[in-house]
């Protein structure tokens, strides 16, 4: 692999862009396939290029069926977890999610909560959630969990999250808290989408400690990522 190809993959990951590297196994010749087409030492025939484009769209790595000896490796953006509320559970969840391969961003405008001392090595945003989410973008490789227990922080985040492409939306709170939250979201005209919110949040593992709840939340996020959302929609 050329240094330039390695650098191209790193740049794509940073910009959350998917790309494909096609390798001829006989001699290692490669080309990079992105939205603009394919470039590099290896030229693809039209049917090979079409198959590569389909793999790129699906984010899947595989040998090309159209030609023996060509392997396509998809590099897709890392999944992201946006945590609203720099609370105790977030302190446990952030490093666990990072270990599971997520890019983690903790959002809380309250400096006393979102401090580097409480979140060593974690990417922090002291913006209001609506500002942070607008800046970060809510794509289909991103999950959001609202953990602050404060409607001033959680609600604006959920209002942006519900109509977005996010693959997972979860909100912490008792049944009663969630009922009130649903009322507010319905009043904001989002009633049709409130079924997307996972609440009670997390798989029911029975644990109550912050770290145990963090395991439940992360487990549910991973389950939805691979198995899809089983929650019924509609309020």
């Amino acid at each position: 692999m050329k240094a330039a190809t390695l650098a191209r993959i790193a740049r794509a990951q940073q910009q959350r862009e998917a790309l494909l590297v096609v390798t001829r196994l006989a001699d290692g010749a490669q080309c990079v396939v992105d939205a603009a087409g394919c470039s590099g030492d290896l030229a693809l025939a039209p049917e090979q290029a079409a198959e590569a484009a389909a793999l790129l769209a699906a984010g899947r790595s595989a040998g090309l069926a159209a030609a023996a000896g060509l392997f396509a490796r998809a590099y897709v953006p890392a999944p992201r977890l946006l945590i609203v509320g720099a609370v105790h559970i977030a302190q446990a969840l952030a490093p666990m999610a990072a270990a599971a391969g997520f890019e983690v961003i903790v959002i809380d405008p309250r400096g006393a909560f979102a401090s580097p001392e409480r979140f060593p090595g974690v990417q922090l945003s002291d913006e209001w959630p609506d500002e942070a989410l607008a800046r970060l973008g809510l794509d289909a490789a991103t999950a959001l969990v609202a953990l602050s227990h404060d409607p001033k922080l959680d609600d604006p985040a959920l209002e942006l999250a519900l109509p977005s492409a996010l693959f997972y939306i979860g909100a912490l709170g008792s049944r009663r808290t969630h009922e009130k939250r649903l009322e507010r979201l319905r009043a904001a005209g989002l009633g049709d989408l409130t079924g997307r919110i996972h609440s009670p949040i997390g798989l029911d593992l029975g644990g109550r400690a912050p770290a145990e709840i963090a395991v439940s939340i992360l487990a549910e996020v991973i389950q939805v990522r691979y198995r899809g959302d089983r929650v019924e929609t509609g309020a």
Binding site: M1, A3, L6, A7, I9, G28, V76, A100
Partner: protein, 107 residues
């Protein structure tokens, strides 16, 4: 997909930036119950340090040996391991299945 490709390739870039030779191994085909999917990476430096994996741990030793050869020759190799393969028995592909691993030098 593999979420860990990011950190594996970042480590690889770090080695090259430090002037160390390095190679990248990739699972390119699997049959049966292979533990790691197609596309899984293992990066190796000239001193045999490695990150990532191409199996449950059974063939990494053989792949690292091949990677060191690939760094020396500058030519890629396509390796195959399977339960019927004598070499696989030696390195202990207890996990079953068959895998093909492409090992390439990193410029």
């Amino acid at each position: 997909m593999d979420n860990d490709a990011d950190s594996i390739l970042a480590t690889l870039q770090g080695w090259r930036a430090a002037g160390k030779a390095a190679a990248l191994a990739t699972v390119v085909s699997t049959w049966g119950s292979s533990p790691r999917p197609e596309g899984s990476h293992l990066a190796v430096d000239a001193d045999g340090h490695f990150v990532g994996s191409v199996s449950g741990g059974c063939i990494e030793g053989a792949v690292i040996d091949a990677a060191v050869q690939v760094m020396a020759s500058g030519r890629p190799q396509l390796l195959e391991f399977g339960v019927s393969d004598e070499q696989a028995w030696q390195v202990g592909l207890a996990c079953g299945g068959r895998v093909q691993v492409f090992v390439e030098p990193v410029e």
